[in-house]
């Protein structure tokens, strides 16, 4: 799974990692075992070269003829003067063999020594031929096999358990975020972008689980390899160890300089890429204006500027990160030669055996590889820390009251429908009061309309009534009970609410309409659809009520709006809130819906927020709001007579230019 490493700097690296590990508490046993296994298998891969060097030594023995024995034979044969057979180590050398031996030896010079050696008579050959210790080789092989297989097995177990822990952890984080969304006060969503929360659920959680799965283990096992290979090198031979470390140290220093340099380019690249992507997004979504205002030339110029700017940092970061591998290769080759040269010197002085050199050839690779990996996993741990900071920050946001102290309950069936606003004061942010001392009594079955220009605070009233926000001062009473004493769920149950926002989820029409109420029959759904006039539309769909609602444009926003109205109707609650519920349908359709709504609002206390004044003319009470204040109260006729803000607003509909 190749992945771009975008390194974000965490605010507090160790703090975040520590917190993250605390979150992992549930799986600490598995985690611990996985880490131990990783360490053990790293240790195995350090021990293994030593055994391999033993093996090499054994094989080396197999190519060296037994020169001492040869000399012994030579002396004995010479002293014998072919006087009869000689017995050495229970082997009898006949006179004929001795004769042959002398002939061969006399013809031997440095160049043909090995060839002559093979011509030796059998008896002598068997005495002086190189001997491998087969038992020893078997012994070493078994140890090696065990080390390799166990190492691989541990690695696998570790990998599987980390995979499962990191994914379970990711799942838990996602669930927590999802639950958190339900428990956050609404104003959190006013102040934070959807995209930001979304990227925490996917990108950040992904980054955490990916890095947890890789970096943590990589870090631990490479640290083990690194330290372990140092220990083993010193244990094997300190002069060689110093040679190996000394020859690589400059390379390492250079590498770290290069890493930090490339980091700079990476960060710059990430930023420029972000800018460019932002620009592309803006331009594409403004396509119509860019085209019709002849903005193309200007846009292309700006784009080219950004695009060209990206090129350099892009190239440099690719180049530098591409160089890492070859560079490490060179360091390792350099170390290799140093080890060989020094090793050869030591061998010639008989300080070490050839096998030690072979072992060091492997150690030098074991020693140089981890540093690169450690550096990489450190950077990815950094982005893990940054990601977990973002996730944990979200999870630690202040939640809504937990409503443990709720005692009262208002039954849906027995609710009368009276609402009293009693000196209500409210502001979304502290010190900025929007609703100042608002009092009103609404009798059961009355229709209350709230009008006013955009941003006047119409929706605020509804938000307070639904207990989406807590009021700062004063009280709201439903059938005489303060909403402070009622649970949010209880209040929501009492209200049927239709919003301007035509929110439907991805699912069938049926599921959307009977939203969260499993006991609704199809007939009831169709009945509601008939009232709002979408029954015909549903019948034309290939799957009828079971048609999926997706993001494509097969269902217009007007139709979606009608569905939300139908959904509200099915809810069937004693109170009704229509927040610009018909703003997405044309006026003719609206009239149809309005009639249906009137049927629906009969005998229900209803609150209607509307843009189109025609919608609310017959309301019992109209609240006119401007800049957060309620500036006029009365029914249509009364307000028109006042000739104030409302009358002005109303008349501007059809005044002449």
């Amino acid at each position: 799974m190749p992945r771009m490493n975008t390194t974000e700097k965490p605010k507090n690296f160790f703090g975040s990692i520590f917190k993250l590990l605390k979150e992992l508490k549930t799986w600490r046993v598995v985690l611990f075992i996985a880490l131990i296994l990783a360490i053990i298998s790293s240790i195995f891969s350090i021990i293994a070269p030593n055994r391999l060097s033993d093996l090499t030594d054994e094989i080396t023995n197999g190519i060296k003829p037994n020169t001492e024995k040869l000399e012994e034979i030579s002396t004995k044969v010479q002293n014998n003067y072919l006087r009869g057979p000689i017995v050495i180590d229970n082997t009898t050398i006949t006179v004929k063999d001795q004769q042959e031996f002398i002939t061969i030896m006399s013809n031997t010079n440095e160049d043909n020594a090995l060839k002559q050696f093979d011509k030796l008579p059998k008896s002598i050959y068997s005495l002086v031929k190189p001997k491998m210790n087969v038992d020893n080789i078997k012994h070493i092989s078994i140890i090696l096999l065990i080390l390799y297989i166990l190492g691989a097995l541990f690695n696998y177990i570790q990998g599987v358990s980390m995979a499962s822990v990191s994914n379970k952890f990711a799942k838990k984080l996602r669930t927590n975020i999802s639950t958190k969304i339900n428990n956050l006060p609404l104003n959190y969503f006013d102040n934070h972008e959807t995209g930001d929360i979304l990227s925490r659920v996917t990108n950040d959680v992904d980054a955490i689980s990916f890095n947890l799965n890789n970096s943590l283990i990589t870090l631990v096992s490479n640290l083990t390899l690194f330290l372990g290979s140092i220990v083993m090198m010193f244990y094997t031979n300190y002069i060689m160890a110093l040679t190996a470390i000394g020859s690589s140290i400059f390379g390492f220093i250079f590498m770290f300089i290069m890493l930090s340099k490339s980091q700079k380019y990476f960060n710059k690249r990430q930023k420029l890429l972000g800018d460019l992507n932002g620009y592309i997004e803006e331009t594409y979504s403004s396509h119509v204006v860019v085209k019709t205002y002849n903005g193309t030339k200007e846009t292309k110029k700006e784009f080219n500027k950004l695009n060209t700017g990206l090129y350099k940092s892009n190239m440099m970061s690719q180049f530098l990160s591409g160089m890492m591998g070859p560079f490490m290769g060179f360091i390792s080759n350099f170390g290799y030669v140093s080890v060989c040269v020094v090793g050869a010197l030591l061998v010639s002085k008989n300080t070490i055996t050839f096998g030690v050199i072979v072992a060091f050839m492997i150690y030098i690779r074991l020693f140089t590889n981890p540093l690169n990996q450690i550096a990489q996993s450190m950077t990815s741990l950094q982005s893990t820390a940054a990601a977990s900071e973002r996730v944990l920050e979200f999870l630690n946001e202040k939640e809504m009251n937990h409503q443990e102290d709720i005692t009262k309950h208002l039954d849906k069936a027995s609710a009368k429908g009276e609402i009293i606003f009693d000196h209500v004061k409210f502001g979304y942010t502290e010190g900025k009061t929007i609703i100042k001392d608002f009092s009103i009594k609404v009798n059961p079955g009355e229709k209350i309309a709230i009008v006013g220009p955009t941003g006047a605070g119409k929706t605020t009233i509804v938000n307070l009534l639904m207990k989406f926000y807590e009021i700062n001062d004063g009280d709201i009473l439903i059938d005489g009970i303060s909403i402070k004493d009622l649970s949010r769920e209880n209040i929501h149950e009492l209200f049927c609410m239709v919003l301007q926002d035509t929110w439907l989820f991805e699912g069938t029409i049926k599921d959307n309409l009977k939203y969260n109420k499993p006991n609704i029959k199809d007939e009831e759904i169709m009945e509601a659809c008939k009232i709002v006039g979408v029954d015909h539309f549903i019948k034309t769909l290939p799957n009828g009520l079971d048609e999926m609602i997706t993001d494509n444009e097969s269902i217009s926003s007007g139709q979606k709006q009608l569905f939300t109205i139908a959904r509200g109707m099915i809810e069937d609650a004693p109170f009704l809130i229509l927040d610009e519920a018909t703003s997405n349908v044309d006026t003719r359709t609206e009239e149809l819906v309005q009639k249906a709504m009137d049927k629906l609002t009969r005998n229900r206390t209803s609150f209607i927020i509307a843009h189109r004044l025609s919608t609310i003319k017959n309301a019992n009470l109209i609240l006119v709001m401007n800049e957060g204040n309620i500036i006029e109260i009365g029914n249509h006729e009364e307000l028109m007579k006042q000739n104030g803000f409302y009358a002005n607003l109303y008349n501007s509909q059809f005044s002449k230019l």
């Binding site: 190749p2 771009m4 391999l52 080396t60 197999g62 003829p65 050696f117 190189p130 090696l144 096999l145 190492g151 691989a152 696998y156 990998g159 995979a163 990191s166 799942k171 996602r174 669930t175 969304i181 339900n182 609404l186 959807t194 979304l198 659920v201 592309i280 594409y284 979504s285 396509h287 119509v288 860019v290 085209k291 205002y293 846009t299 292309k300 695009n307 090129y311 892009n314 190239m315 690719q318 560079f327 060179f330 080759n333 030669v337 060989c340 040269v341 050869a344 639904m466 769920e489 149950e493 609410m497 926002d501 989820f505 217009s556 044309d586 006026t587 002005n648 607003l649 501007s652 059809f654």
Partner: protein, 586 residues
């Protein structure tokens, strides 16, 4: 994938060739290194007198080769990086320019969001592939072939072992690949779904709470979450096999070569023993190279398909034939400020039904023509034909008595001031937004101020920090909907066009602002022609001519008064908004 590589210029191919040569040299040099290693090994074995001197000489040679090969690799990586970056830069520019030339039909076909991903993410995908893939793809085959030629014939036993290891490794890699790739696709879908559900939960937070449906939504989320976790765990577990298998195969290769070596040596004549031994050392290092290059190739093939999907998506955009062709007329016209539709019909190319059918009307200089009708009646589509966001399927659209298809885009656009239903705001200052684009005259500072004043934006702009220079955030998030709309109207006014086109622009404004704006505009643009799409009767009842659309057909044309009498549909619309009495009084 291959098709997109055709976008390489001749120079870029030369660079590829150059990289190929460099890689060849790099590999040749690199493969010399084991020779020196074995020479050094031999020297150590030989224990001759001036052994350390000889080793030093050989070591120096080995380092020289290592260094040269490192330099070669460096140069080739440098050029590969240049190549991939400039390639991505070029192709990004090509797509961007292509998209900029698209009409609405093409935009709708691809969807804006998808075009954005194609211009950004898909290109990055290919860039990464070229940067990594080029190096690996050039290197691995060369490395593999050369390493094999070095060791071929050394020993049948070792070769068999090596072949066995390669086959085993490839089998494991391919199996995992086959098992995991479909799951990866599934995972991508699940991540999209997770995003979708979370987005739902956030955007619908008020509805969800109002319906007490938190649990319902949580269940939906958990459903996807579970599926995603299961798939992801499966994938990671499958991948967990890869590392240990790779390790064990490589270890076994070395180990096996040594064991076989021991056997061969013990059974050979003295004269061959040393040679077999040094062959063994050489074989084990070349063998490792062979395995590594096979693994590298496998890796390229693993990231290949993903890049290939991206390449296809990019090709689709580049291959898209633009349905709207630019004309050549760019001279001043005799008539000004007229728009005429002659029997115009429009339908989407693959649709059966017309969206608008047989529409004819003429707007003269200074007139206001309004279009009204229910949602989906074709009002917006109709006026989209004027700036050629779509082209009429049948009939002619004339501006200043010349078919819009004959104009150059620039000339046509200079005549028009088009304001969209949803305000479009750019990142930058208020001034940047109002003076956006190009027209036949330079938009001066006082034009901007005047336009802002007429668009009823003066009051809020003066309250902004920095006024005209005030910063407007991406998507205009620091402005309200009405404010954004007023700025976009000011943008059209600043151009001083002959013809204004308002596509349901006024619905976002409250009645009062709507009225004041239109009054000012009328005063300022006496000679300008206005085409207005609206939903409110109030907005359009003073128009010189009103076209009533119903299901794409024109069911009535005339003034407010005339239509009230003659057009049933219009009357219905009017009555749904105002009472009979009010209509009479108005």
């Amino acid at each position: 994938m291959i098709k997109i590589l055709k976008q390489f210029s001749f120079k870029e191919w030369l660079i590829v060739l150059f990289c190929l040569v460099l890689t060849y040299i790099n590999v040749t040099l690199e493969l010399k290194i084991p020779d020196y290693m074995s020479e050094i090994t031999r020297l150590i074995q030989s224990s001759s007198d001036n052994m350390s001197h000889d080793i030093l000489v050989q070591g120096a040679w080995m380092l020289l080769f290592a260094f040269s090969s490192f330099i070669c690799a460096g140069i080739s990586i440098y050029f590969a990086a240049r190549l991939s970056s400039s390639f991505s830069q070029n192709i990004r520019e090509k797509i961007f320019n292509k998209v900029e030339s698209f009409g609405l039909k093409e935009m709708k076909k691809f969807q804006t969001a998808s075009l954005i991903t194609r211009t950004t993410n898909d290109i990055t995908q290919i860039e990464t592939f070229i940067a990594m893939g080029l190096h690996m793809m050039l290197r691995s085959p060369i490395m593999c072939v050369m390493a094999i030629t070095k060791i071929i014939g050394k020993s049948i036993e070792w070769s068999m072992l090596l072949a066995g290891c390669v086959v085993l490794l490839l089998a494991v890699v391919i199996t995992i690949f086959i098992v995991v790739v479909p799951k990866f696709k599934l995972m991508q879908k699940l991540i999209d779904k997770l995003n979708a559900v979370t987005r739902e939960n956030i955007t619908g937070v008020r509805v969800i709470r109002a319906f007490n449906a938190e649990k319902f939504q949580s269940d939906r989320f958990e459903d996807v979450n579970n599926n995603l976790t299961k798939t992801q765990t499966f994938n990671l577990k499958a991948f967990a096999v890869l590392g240990p298998v790779m390790n064990i195969v490589m270890h076994f290769l070395t180990f096996g070569i040594y064991l076989i070596g021991a056997y061969l040596i013990s059974n050979s004549l003295m004269v061959d023993k040393v040679e077999i031994f040094s062959n063994m050392v050489v074989f084990s290092s070349y063998g490792m190279q062979v395995i590594m290059s096979f693994l590298m190739l496998a890796f390229v093939f693993m990231i290949g398909p993903r890049a290939s999907i991206s390449a296809n998506r990019i090709n689709e955009v580049l291959d898209e034939e633009n349905s709207i062709k630019e004309g050549t007329f760019n001279k001043p016209t005799e008539e000004t400020g007229t728009v005429e539709f002659k029997n115009v019909s429009f339908r989407y190319p693959d649709a059966d039904e017309y969206i608008i059918e047989n529409i004819s009307f003429k707007a003269n200089k200074g007139e206001t023509i309004a279009f009204i009708g229910s949602t989906g009646s074709g009002k917006s589509t109709l006026i989209n034909l004027i700036p050629r966001l779509y082209d009429a399927t049948e009939g002619e659209v004339l501006v200043d008595n010349i078919n819009v298809k004959d104009y150059t885009f620039e000339t046509l656009n200079n005549k028009l001031g088009y304001i969209t239903q949803k305000a479009v705001i750019f990142t930058g200052s208020v001034k940047d937004n109002v003076s956006y684009g190009e027209t036949d005259h330079k938009v001066k500072e006082e034009d901007i101020k005047e336009a802002i004043k007429i668009a009823q934006a003066e009051e809020f702009v003066s309250k902004l920090d920095g006024e005209l220079k005030a910063h407007v955030a991406r998507g205009g998030t620091n402005l309200s909907g009405g404010q954004k709309q007023r700025l976009s109207i000011a943008r059209a006014i600043a151009r001083k066009p002959e013809i204004y086109i308002f596509d349901d622009t006024f619905s976002a404004l409250d009645y009062k602002t709507d009225l004041a704006l239109r009054k000012e505009l009328k005063k300022y643009t006496k000679d300008a022609t206005s085409l207005i799409v609206a939903q409110r009767i109030g907005t359009i009842m003073n128009a010189d001519k009103i076209l009533v659309l119903d299901n794409g057909k024109c069911v009535g044309m005339g003034t407010h008064k005339e239509l009230l009498k003659s057009c049933e549909v219009y009357k219905e619309i009017a009555l749904s908004q105002l009472s009979e009495e009010e209509l009479q009084n108005a």
